[in-house]
Symmetry: C2
Subunit: 313 residues, 2 copies
């Protein structure tokens, strides 16, 4: 069994190759060509931790992938990252373990950021005035970096609650070539931006319906469990078109779950990434539409990024 550490993984990361693989994966998922058993969950209440185990196989592939990823929210007290995890590849021909990727959660972060890039490709307006990033953590930075491949816009507004983290984000984003405006007022961000990515684990909506300009696209990354929500339900209900990674997951515990369960989305097209990509068309039909992409994360993305990393070693 080949053991691959984080340094090797990051050196083998090729955004173009992996974006192409992710698109193939989304298409296969929506075409029912992926075996993806229900996620296993653990709750470690005393340690304020949780863990999920995801696995998938794209039927016909030579390998399948198992991922163990966890979040322990008091780890920083010990100087440890909150997110921990690893991925493993096994032969789908003999069952043998092939590779252990000690990615410390990076592959999940990267495949999520690349899904955000694909969402922007499918939904973003033609002219982007400024990019809005809600949140100032690692995913907030990765999303911004990956958007460079799909837009020439280098103007970014960043919303966060903690001044120190906003300052740190500013430095990183400037290093990535952006002009950076920081704010603690989400309405101010929305007034300037027509491509917005939300990346927080918030349980209280941060963006309101009245904040959003016509023609804006929002990619919502944070909500991946029951109770999490970054956008007001009225904002979700205002969308003219909604892109989802998986209709089932998003309607149960994604950003759109509340609006969906309140029957506010009965007239809005809700299309899966895989369906849209297979059609070869764009989600956005006019410059004035408000579009929304809801990402909850699929194990097929793990399969595809592992494939891309192994090919790059």
């Amino acid at each position: 069994m080949r053991i691959i550490n984080k340094t090797q993984i990051l050196a083998a990361f090729d955004a173009e190759r992996i974006t192409a693989l992710l698109k193939t994966g989304f298409i296969a998922y929506s075409a029912y060509q992926v075996q993806m058993p229900p996620v296993q969950h653990f709750l470690f209440n005393a340690a304020e931790g949780d863990c999920c185990i995801k696995s998938a196989w794209l039927e016909g592939d030579d390998q399948f992938v198992v991922k163990v990823s966890s979040g322990f929210y008091r780890n920083s007290e010990q100087g440890l990252p909150s997110n921990q995890g690893l991925m493993m590849a096994f032969s789908a021909l003999t069952g043998e373990p092939q590779a252990l990727l000690l990615d410390e959660g990076w592959l999940t972060a990267l495949r999520t950021a690349l899904a955000g890039r694909i969402a922007a490709e499918l939904c973003a307006p033609q002219h982007i005035d400024a990019i809005g990033i809600v949140g100032s953590g690692m995913q907030a930075l990765l999303q911004l970096q990956q958007l460079k491949a799909v837009t020439h816009c280098r103007e970014v507004w960043v919303w966060g609650r903690t001044p120190q983290r906003l300052t740190a984000y500013r430095q990183d984003a400037e290093a990535a070539g952006f002009r950076v405006h920081i704010t603690r007022d989400a309405a101010e961000l929305a007034a300037h931006c027509n491509l917005i990515v939300t990346t927080t684990p918030s349980h209280t909506p941060i963006l309101q319906a009245e904040n959003i300009r016509p023609g804006t696209h929002i990619t919502a990354v944070g909500a991946d469990a029951v109770g999490k929500q970054e956008l007001a339900t009225a904002l979700v209900a205002k969308a003219d078109a909604i892109l989802v990674d998986a209709r089932k997951q998003c309607s149960e515990y994604g950003e759109i779950a509340q609006a969906y369960q309140q029957n506010l989305l009965t007239t809005v097209p809700i299309v899966e990434f895989g369906e849209m990509l297979a059609s070869g068309m764009k989600m956005r039909k006019t410059d004035q539409q408000i579009t929304l992409a809801d990402l909850t994360g699929l194990a097929i993305q793990d399969v595809q990024i592992v494939k891309g990393i192994l090919a790059g070693l």
Copy 2:
């Protein structure tokens, strides 16, 4: 992350320590102190393979365990073992990966054999005339070896379909100190033996109700999926007491599933290992009872054997 290979694992294996841990694990399971999410399954039809992913955490423990185990039934054509797999331990305090045990399926085989030993402790008659082993594979040998700790009987009858494998089994069992009788007639085996262990993946019953002597205990290890059955339904229905690792699993896809679903077990006590062990009593009440133990395998056993191996390194 510590990487432990098969040689190191087998060197650290201590049957006594791990048997004690397994008993604790069964008790915790039956007392609802174990988080054990539903098993993930894959089917690789073209390669005639399957895989299951099991995980569990005994609440309060410092670690949890994830197991990936597979069976690929054409592997022998390439000189590879059919069973492949590994186990991993993670911190339940920080989520960090702690140990990777490249056991190639051995830990599953060993914890299953030790569960057979515990079943014999709880159910076997006081005087054992001869041990009957149905099947001639690896599990058939491990079960016999582990029974040495609970009985002085060294007389064994072995049933199998393939003469070469029976001959090989005879050599291994003689090396382990047994007088060995081989047979291709299961009724002959049952006529001589009052402690029987069945270890085949058969879908057709091998032992019939009329074969079994009063006072016999049978441990059925093979049936762990819908359709597998080693004992005639009438034989299961004839049992005076039934021990199960998990009531839910056994009634759905264990050896007792057919009889259970046909409502033939409504008057028979069906007791979990953990309940029996917690009571401190034996399952068997008289010398004339026919008792049956049904093993389908629990992820808590994986947790406990990993704990035992790590303590022995």
